[in-house]
Symmetry: C2
Subunit: 360 residues, 2 copies
C-alpha cells in the first residue's frame, strides 16, 4: 500500500474519532514527509526529527503532521538535498557538510576543521550573518534551513595503533565521514575511506582500515570499536560543533500559514536544544564505560593538531578559488569566529578550565 | 486607564479588523500577563520575554497573547514569585537565584558558585533530573518552570583596585546580585552591598563601594563602569551558566489546551536559545570596545579562586543543614556536574583550548 495514503487515511480517521467539527479540520490540514539522513540506531541524532515532528503535531493540534523516514526508507541518506529540491519530500534532517561534493560551501553550515563550537555556531547563525548567508546559498537549491541539532565536539576516532606525530598519519587508511575532512586528511597523507557505520567494526577488526571516526562516546560505544581499535583520540578537530539542520523545500514553506511557519521555527529550536542536551547528558556515562572496558583515551599531540590546522587552511584557500560561495561565506565565518574565540578565552574559557582542573 | 482593559480592547479590535469569523476567535482566546524581573535597558535579557511572547502569538495566530511588563511596572523585580503564586500574573521571567532568601534551593535552578556552564545546565535540566526536581520544588509555590535563557559565564566585575590575593578581598565593599554569592563572599571577608543597576556607577565613582559585578561586556559597557573602576576581572565564578526561567502559575498552565501547552514549551526553547546566542554574539564587540577604552582585563588568581571554591563548599554544607530541598537537589546537581566536567575535559575542552591558543 502507498505510504502516503496510509498516513492520510489514518489522519482522517483520527480527526473523525475525536469528533471535531468538519468546518475546523477542513481548513488547514497539512501533511509533510521528512527524509532523515540518519539510521534509527543513531537514536539521539535521528530522534531530533521526531522531537521536531512531535512538537509540530502537538502545537497544531494535529492539523500539521510531518512523517519522519529513516535514511534509505524514501531515498538514500545523501539523496535528501535532491529530494527536497525536487519536492519529492517537503523536508529533510541532515548534516549540511554531507553535500560538500555539490559545493564546498555546504560545510560552512555545519562544521569545518578548526571551526566554531556549538555555542559559537548558534551565535553566528542566529545573531551574526550565518543563517542569512546560508539560506541565500541554500536558496539556489530551492531550500530554506532551520537549526536541527548539534552533537557538540566529536571524538577524533579509534586507532589500531598509537599516533604520535604527523609522520604516523602517512599512509593510514581511515574511515572518515565528510568530504572536507577527507581533503584535509589527504594533505596529511591519510587515505580516506568511505564506509557505512554498520561495516566499520569488521573493517577495523580485519585490518582493512587502520582507524575510523564516528561520533562520540554514546554512539561509538554501541558499535563496540574499543574491542578492535583501543586507542580513542580526542578531539575531533574537524567537528568542533557540527550543526545538524532541517532543510525545507522553499515553495512548501512559503505556502504555509504564518502560524505554521512560526511553529516550524519554534519546533526546530526545541529539537536543536534537545539534541545537544541529550548528547551532553549521555556521553559522560558512555565514556566512563568505555574506559572501564580498556579503551585508551589519548589526546592528539600538538604537532598533529598544528599540522592539521595548516593543512586545513590550505584546503580553505583552494575552496575559495573553486567556489565563490565558499569564499564569501567563509570570510564572514572567519571574522565572526575570530571575535568569538577572543571572547571565549576570557570568562567562559577560564571558568571551564578551572572547573576541569578540579576533583569534584 | 486600566492596562488590562487597554490590552483586551486592543486585542478585540485587532481580531475584528482582521475579519476573523466570531466562531473562531470566540473559542480559544487566552490573554496572560508576564512580569519580568528585568528593566528594559537590559535589552538582551529583558528581550527574552518578548521573543517568547511574540512566538506564542505567532504560533497561535493571535489566539494566545502574553503581555510583557518590565520590572516595577506591575510589581517589584523581586516580587514576581509572589505574583505568580498568588495568580496576580500568570507568568514571570526571572532568575531563580533571586529567591534564595525564600529557600536556598531556588539558586540550584539558575546558578551556584562553581556550578555548571550553560550547556551542562541544559543537559541536567532536559535529560538529567534537573527540571523534574526543580518543578517538584517550585510546585510548593504553585509554579511550573521553563527555560527562559542563559547569559553564559558572566564577568567577575569591576574593581577600583587590583585584587591579587584573598587578603585583598577582606573588608571590600562589593555590589553583588544574589544571596548565595553574598553568603560565600561574606566568608571571604567581603561586605556585600545591594544596589540597583542604575546607582552602581555613582557609588563606584564616589568610592561608597570598592567593586561591583553586573553581567558581562555587553550590558556592563552601557553603564560605563570602566571610567570609575578600570580593573575588569574574570570569570564570574558564581555564575558559570546562570539560567533564566519562565515561572508559570500551575493552575493557569494546567487550564491551557494541549496545543497551548506545547506552544509554551517550544516558545520557551526558542527564547532560551536566542538569549544565549545573542549574548555570545554581542559580548565580543563590547569587550573589544571596553579594552579600547582603557579597561584592564584581569583574571582572578588561582589563590582567589581556590579560596572562593572552599568558601562555597562551606556554604553548601550550611544550606544542606538548613534546607532539605537544597540537600536533595544539590546531591543530584553535584553528581551530574561531576560527570559533565569529566567529559567536558576531553573533546570539548581540548578543542576549545586549542582554538583559544591560536591567533586566527
Amino acid at each position: 500500500m502507498d505510504r502516503r495514503s496510509l498516513i492520510k487515511n489514518a489522519g482522517i480517521a483520527g480527526v473523525l474519532a475525536a469528533g471535531i467539527a468538519p468546518a475546523v479540520h477542513a481548513q488547514a490540514a497539512v501533511r509533510w514527509r521528512l527524509a532523515s539522513s540518519f539510521p534509527k540506531p543513531l537514536d539521539t541524532i535521528y530522534g531530533g526529527a521526531e522531537v521536531f515532528s512531535n512538537a509540530v503535531k502537538a502545537m497544531s493540534g494535529g492539523k500539521f503532521e510531518i512523517s519522519v523516514h529513516a535514511a534509505g526508507e524514501l531515498m538514500p541518506a545523501f539523496g535528501v538535498v535532491d529530494g527536497v529540491q525536487q519536492g519529492s519530500v517537503e523536508a529533510a534532517h541532515t548534516v549540511p557538510y554531507y553535500f560538500y561534493g555539490k559545493n564546498p560551501a555546504f560545510a560552512l553550515g555545519s562544521a569545518i576543521p578548526f571551526g566554531m563550537n556549538a555555542r559559537q555556531m548558534n551565535a553566528w547563525m542566529m545573531h551574526g550573518n550565518g543563517r542569512k548567508l546560508m539560506d541565500e546559498f541554500y536558496g539556489t537549491y530551492g531550500m530554506v534551513s532551520f537549526n536541527g541539532g548539534n552533537t557538540g565536539t566529536q571524538m577524533g576516532g579509534w586507532f589500531r595503533k598509537e599516533i604520535k606525530t604527523p609522520a604516523d598519519l602517512k599512509g593510514l587508511k581511515m574511515r572518515l565521514g565528510g568530504g572536507l575532512v577527507g581533503d584535509v586528511m589527504t594533505k596529511l597523507g591519510v587515505v580516506p575511506q568511505s564506509i557505512p557505520g554498520g561495516e566499520i567494526y569488521q573493517a577495523l577488526e580485519k585490518g582493512t582500515i587502520d582507524a575510523a571516526e564516528w561520533v562520540g562516546p554514546y554512539d561509538d560505544q554501541k558499535l563496540g570499536f574499543n574491542k578492535v581499535a583501543p586507542n580513542y583520540y580526542y578531539p575531533g578537530w574537524w567537528e568542533g560543533g557540527p550543526e545538524v539542520d532541517f532543510f525545507i523545500n522553499k515553495k512548501a514553506f512559503d505556502a504555509l500559514s504564518p502560524e505554521n511557519k512560526a511553529i516550524i521555527a519554534a519546533a526546530s529550536a526545541m529539537a536543536a536544544q534537545d539534541m545537544l542536551a541529550k548528547y551532553d547528558a549521555r556521553n559522560p556515562t558512555a565514556l566512563k564505560q568505555l574506559i572501564g572496558a580498556k579503551t585508551k583515551l589519548l589526546p592528539f599531540s600538538k604537532e598533529i593538531l598544528d599540522a592539521s590546522y595548516k593543512a586545513s587552511l590550505q584546503v580553505y584557500e583552494e575552496n575559495s578559488a573553486k567556489s565563490p560561495e565558499w569564499k564569501k561565506i567563509y570570510a564572514d565565518f572567519l571574522a565572526f569566529q575570530r571575535d568569538q574565540v577572543a571572547w571565549f578565552r576570557v570568562a567562559e574559557g577560564r571558568f571551564d578550565n578551572y572547573m576541569q582542573s578540579m576533583k569534584l
